[in-house]
Symmetry: C2
Subunit: 403 residues, 2 copies
């Protein structure tokens, strides 16, 4: 399964349970593990010994003494295994190298070549992945695999990117197989919003939330009871067509008039800004130009331009209507926003968003939290790397893999 | 727990597992049970013996011979236990007596007294429950409890009906405690849509679907992997405010203009019908008059009135936009419609609904099914009774109970 690595046999279910517990709760002791796993004391000790011998975990100095015996904290050995996460956004290509403790150890961000074919992009990802691993200097055998987060819709079962509206030249691209051929690594493909929510779940104290993803497009993911919902065809979260403003202006674009995408994606915001005379209209097929124009718009608002501020506040109120639809429907206690575009919009959005969402609620809920993710623009890449870790190291594999 | 019944101790977890398996798969054998429960052969035999002795299950004639030994089908003894389900809809009060095999054995439907206070309604439910049990002639000790399905929002933890828009005189009514006092029975309170989805799940082959409830109001429930989602505060499914037609007419009512409720609840349809000159406008505070007018409207359409038909077809197309929002968001393979108003609308809705929903999908899905529930108007009452059965007989209790 791991093609020549010297890691212990990871197929062992109990071992996966123990490693997963240590990974999620660093500093846990053998006694803690026994309680939370339900395994016998001797079994836990044997597995811990095997994981120590294999260099997957390490012991720290005892911090307390329990009934005369020191309680030795166990943590994963961060350098024991790695995975690479890649996020394909129409404007940005982001690569991260994540260690088994969940830390991003190395990263690379490229502006997406706008004219690249899927084949050229596959080569670019393969070359960039190789460079990322070489630059950091990690033994390639320690890299479990490559996770790719892409805009939907996908066929996750076959690893095919179907017809993403934001990658108009992509039609049924066998990205998982192509990247496996180009890198020789196990490759996992998932939706950008699902990957981002996975990263948010790993780093947040909350296990029930709606994740709203703002990138070149807008999407959502749902986490209930610590599980990331995936949907029947792994295409959960297509929210761009939700009507949020019946009186919205006509943008003369491909999206639904008055819809959530028309309210907040960079293309729509830039068209609105150009209509308001804030900036010249860029080439709408050039996601880099759109992304730059979106940055300009948010800087105008941050620097006090009243028209730009009003435009973004209106956007926030429209987004709140859409979030209200989702919270009313699913009765979630927490909404987290993130993704490549979020940081630029958060300054204008956060002051109005929570109250505006609450005003939409049919069942009043004082405790509803609407917050920004603490993870940066690399959130989807980080989540893609986490999904690879989960596939190899967690007791339940959640997604299919080409290997 | 069961106040003097002679049922075997139901707290036993393994026994609950076995009884639940027999309840859900009538005709299963001891060998089947052993495989599906993972329990030892002797344990399964002992539990089956206890359940037989207690009259909770019975054996049928052997239908096949496996390795020389006859395989004896086990089914629950339908008369072994019962529960009562009540559905409080603003227009109709529905009571059903359900047996442990899930069959509705007796029922009663009353038009809701429109001027009754919550206290008077509590008395009416208590009296009607007593009559239902007496009329059918079942020993009251065999009735496990009373399940009540009401319009949200609720506080399920405390058993309080908060401020349902369709029961305007109800404010923080402690319905669970009041009904427990009035009947002496264990009482369980749940949302109408959640109860309806529970009944649909029990009687359908599908374990993943969106349930759209049409009664005096409109709501939704979500079933994923055979689990009915409940939401963080048990108030999942408030979908009435979803915008479905930016150009919708002004109804001059309390609901959101252009919203899903304005598209399809009886009050909104009747206002539209009156605006179109199809019928005189009834008293909008009288849910019985609204319900009757809704029946008149659907009969006009069924009898070929073009204006009535167009009005209902427009309603169906608007409902399809709302369902499209939910399917795009959650990526569900199947949509089931039901509830007290559904049967009257289905004739006009079904011919257009599925294609209209598919036209809304961002990720095309040829296999999406949009169907009507095969359960009749008593679906929510039946589900409320099932929730009581689950509470007492399933290995995991899902909701809190006053007893």
């Amino acid at each position: 399964m791991l093609r020549g690595t010297n890691l212990p046999r990871l197929g062992d279910y109990n071992q996966a349970v123990i490693l997963d517990l240590i990974r999620r709760d660093p500093g846990t002791s053998r006694a803690d593990l026994q309680r939370s796993s339900g395994l016998a004391s001797q079994t836990v000790s044997n597995i811990a010994r095997r994981l120590l011998d294999a260099g997957m975990i390490r012991e720290s100095e005892p911090t307390e003494v329990v009934r005369g015996r020191p309680s030795i904290p166990l943590t994963v050995n961060a350098d024991g295994a790695f995975s690479v996460g890649v996020h394909v956004d129409p404007a940005l290509l982001t690569l991260v190298l994540v260690d088994v403790a969940g830390q991003v150890r190395h990263r690379q961000q490229l502006r997406m070549p706008q004219t690249a074919s899927p084949h050229e992009l596959t080569s670019l990802i393969a070359v960039s992945t190789g460079r990322l691993i070489r630059e950091f200097g990690v033994d390639r055998e320690k890299v479990l695999g490559l996770g790719i987060a892409v805009p939907g819709p996908l066929d996750v079962q076959t690893g095919v990117v179907l017809r993403p509206p934001q990658l108009p030249t992509w039609r049924d691209v066998h990205l998982r197989a192509d990247l496996h051929d180009a890198t020789g690594m196990p490759v996992l493909l998932d939706k950008d919003v699902t990957a981002a929510a996975t990263a948010e779940l790993r780093t947040s104290a909350s296990s029930d939330f709606l994740f709203v993803y703002l990138g070149s497009g807008v999407g959502a993911a749902v986490v209930i009871g610590g599980q990331v919902l995936r949907g029947d065809s792994n295409n959960i979260g297509e929210i761009g067509d939700i009507l949020v403003d019946p009186a919205a202006e006509d943008l003369g674009w491909g999206g639904r008039r008055g819809g959530l995408a028309a309210a907040c994606v960079p293309e729509a915001l830039v068209i609105q800004a150009a209509q308001a005379g804030l900036l010249p209209l860029p080439d709408l097929h050039d996601y880099l130009a759109l992304d730059d124009a979106c940055t300009t718009l948010s800087e105008l608002a941050a620097n006090g331009d009243a028209t730009a501020s009003q435009l973004l506040e209106r956007a926030a109120r429209r987004v709140a209507v859409g979030i209200g639809v989702l919270v009313n429907f699913l009765d979630v206690p927490r909404v987290v926003l993130g993704g490549p575009t979020w940081k630029r919009l958060s300054g204008a959005f956060l002051p109005v968003l929570e109250d505006a969402v609450r005003a939409e609620l049919i069942v009043p809920r004082d405790s509803l939290a609407v917050v920004g993710s603490t993870l940066s623009e690399q959130i989807a890449a980080q989540g893609a790397a986490e999904l690879v870790m989960d596939h190899f190291l967690a007791p339940h594999a959640s997604v299919l893999l080409m290997e």
